[in-house]
C-alpha cells in the first residue's frame, strides 16, 4: 500500500510536469505536441479536469470539435463547476448545431463565470458567444412568427369581410351602423396583431438595464456603496486605471465594496427571455 501511494504521488508529479510541457507547446502554437503531452498526463492522472480542458483547447484550435466535446464532457464530470469546460462544450455543441444544449452549456458557463474571481474572468467572451447563438435563433424564430401572424391576420380579415358581405346581402338597406362596426372590427384586429408582434420588434433596451460605462445591457452587474450599478469588468477597470471613486457620484470606492446586484441580474434575464433581439452585440 505504501508503495502504491508513493507511486501514485510520483505519477501525479510527473503528470504535472507533462502539463507544463503541454502548456509551453501550446504557447508556441505546437498543438499536436501539446495534445501528446496532455494525453500522457491524462494517462498518468485521469482525474485532473484541467488536463482535459487544456487538451480540449488544443482540439479547439485545430477545429476538431468532436474531440473538444469528448474532453469537455469528461472535464464536466470531474468538475461540475469548470467554466472553461462548459464554455468549450457549448461551442462544440453549437458547431454541430445542437442549438438548445449548446446554449444551455454557455448559460451555465456564464453563471459559473460571474463573480469576483479575477483570474480567468471570461464573462465577456462567453457572453458574446451566447449572444451570437441566441440572436441567430431569434432571427429564424421571429421570421417564422412574423410570417405566421401575417398569414393569420390575412385569414381573419378575409373572414370579417366575408361576414360583412353576407350581412349586407341579407339586409335590404345597407345601414351606416353596420358599416361602422365593420371598420371598427378591422381596426381592432390591426391592434391585436400589432400587439402580438411587439416583443419581436427591436427597440432600445431600457437605460436601467444598461451600464453607465459600457452603455450595454448588464452581464455581471455589481452595485457600489453609492447605490449605482455597473458592469463588473468595467468598474474594476475604472478603479484600476482612473481611480478609486464612483464614476457617477465621485464618492470613494474600494473594489472590495462592490457586491453583485442580483435583482438587476434577474431583471436582465427576464427581459432577455422576452426580448431576445436585445442579445444583439454591436450595432
Amino acid at each position: 500500500m505504501v508503495v502504491t501511494g508513493a507511486a501514485s504521488a510520483m505519477a501525479a508529479k510527473q503528470a504535472e510536469r507533462l502539463k507544463e510541457d503541454g502548456n509551453s507547446c501550446f504557447k508556441k502554437e505546437r498543438f499536436g505536441a501539446a495534445i501528446d503531452a496532455y494525453t500522457e498526463a491524462i494517462t498518468l492522472s485521469p482525474k485532473v479536469p484541467v488536463y482535459w480542458t487544456n487538451r480540449a483547447l488544443c482540439h479547439m484550435k485545430r477545429k476538431d470539435w468532436t474531440r473538444v466535446e469528448e474532453d469537455c464532457r469528461k472535464a464536466v464530470q470531474l468538475d461540475h463547476n469548470s467554466v472553461k469546460a462548459h464554455y468549450m462544450l457549448g461551442l462544440a455543441l453549437l458547431q454541430r448545431e445542437d442549438y438548445a444544449d449548446g446554449v444551455k452549456a454557455l448559460q451555465r458557463a456564464l453563471d459559473l463565470g460571474r463573480g469576483a474571481n479575477p483570474t480567468g474572468y471570461m464573462v465577456e467572451e462567453i457572453w458574446e458567444e451566447l449572444a451570437k447563438a441566441k440572436y441567430m435563433e431569434w432571427e429564424l424564430a421571429s421570421a417564422r412568427r412574423s410570417w405566421e401572424l401575417n398569414s393569420l391576420k390575412g385569414t381573419c380579415e378575409a373572414a370579417l369581410n366575408q361576414q360583412r358581405a353576407l350581412d349586407m346581402s341579407q339586409t335590404e338597406e345597407s345601414s351606416e351602423e353596420a358599416y361602422t362596426s365593420h371598420t371598427e372590427q378591422l381596426k381592432a384586429l390591426d391592434r391585436v396583431f400589432e400587439k402580438a408582434a411587439e416583443d419581436d420588434k427591436p427597440t432600445e433596451v431600457p437605460d436601467y438595464l444598461c451600464c453607465n460605462i459600457t452603455l450595454e445591457i448588464f452581464r455581471d452587474p455589481v452595485i457600489s456603496p453609492s447605490g449605482v450599478t455597473y458592469e463588473r469588468a468595467a468598474i474594476l477597470e475604472h478603479i484600476n486605471k482612473v481611480g478609486k471613486f464612483d464614476p457617477i457620484t465621485r464618492e470613494k470606492l474600494d473594489p472590495s465594496k462592490l457586491v453583485p446586484n442580483l435583482a438587476i441580474k434577474e431583471a436582465v434575464a427576464s427581459y432577455l427571455e422576452k426580448h431576445v433581439w436585445a442579445y444583439k452585440v454591436g450595432s
Binding site: N212, I213, T214, L215, E216, A234, E237, H238, K241, V242, F245, P247, I248, R250, G282, S283
Partner: protein
C-alpha cells in the same frame, strides 16, 4: 493646423469601439440641443458644431469642436478642443484649448460626448465677458510644439467664471 494637437493615433480598442457606436446611435436619436455632429466615417474623431445659446454672449455664433478618442476610451478622457477661430472666453485659449476640469483630472467614464458638450455649452452660456484667459499668450506660446491640452498641468480657473 497647429492648434489641433497631435493625439497619439492608436486605433480604438474593441471596448472603445463598441461604446462609441452606442454613443453615436444615442446621439443620432437624441442629440444635445445646440449641437450638430458632422457625420464622417471616422469613429475616432468627431467634429461637432456648436451654436451659442440664445440670450447669451454667443447667441447665433457657430463654432466647431474636435473630439479625439484615445485607444482606451472611456477609461481615458477624449481630447476636446475648439477648431479656430475659438470663441472668446475666459477659459478658452486662442489655440482652441479649453480649461475645463472634466476633460482632464475630473474625467469619469460615466461621462459621454453628449454630457461633455452640455458642460461646454453651459460654460459658454455663463460667461459675462468675451475675453481670453489672462495667461493666454504664455500658454499658447508653450503649446507651440503641438502639445495636447491633455499634457498640460491645469490649475482650474474659478468655476464661477
Amino acid at each position: 493646423m497647429s492648434s489641433s494637437g497631435a493625439p497619439s493615433h492608436k486605433a480604438l480598442s474593441k471596448i472603445a469601439c463598441k461604446r462609441l457606436q452606442k454613443e453615436l446611435v444615442e446621439w443620432q436619436m437624441n442629440p444635445p440641443t445646440g449641437f450638430k455632429h458632422k457625420v464622417t466615417d471616422n469613429l475616432q474623431r468627431w467634429i461637432i458644431e456648436v451654436i451659442g445659446a440664445p440670450g447669451t454672449l454667443y447667441a447665433n455664433e457657430t463654432y466647431q469642436l474636435q473630439v479625439d478618442f484615445p485607444e482606451h476610451y472611456p477609461m481615458e478622457s477624449p481630447q476636446v478642443i475648439f477648431l479656430l477661430p475659438a470663441p472668446l472666453h475666459p477659459h478658452i485659449y486662442s489655440n482652441g484649448h479649453i480649461c475645463l476640469d472634466i476633460l482632464y483630472d475630473s474625467w469619469s467614464p460615466a461621462m459621454t460626448v453628449s454630457s461633455i458638450c452640455i458642460s461646454i455649452l453651459s460654460m459658454l452660456s455663463s460667461s459675462t465677458e468675451k475675453q481670453r484667459p489672462t495667461d493666454n499668450d504664455r500658454y499658447v506660446q508653450n503649446c507651440k510644439n503641438g502639445r495636447s491640452p491633455k499634457e498640460t498641468r491645469w490649475w482650474f480657473h474659478d468655476d464661477k467664471v
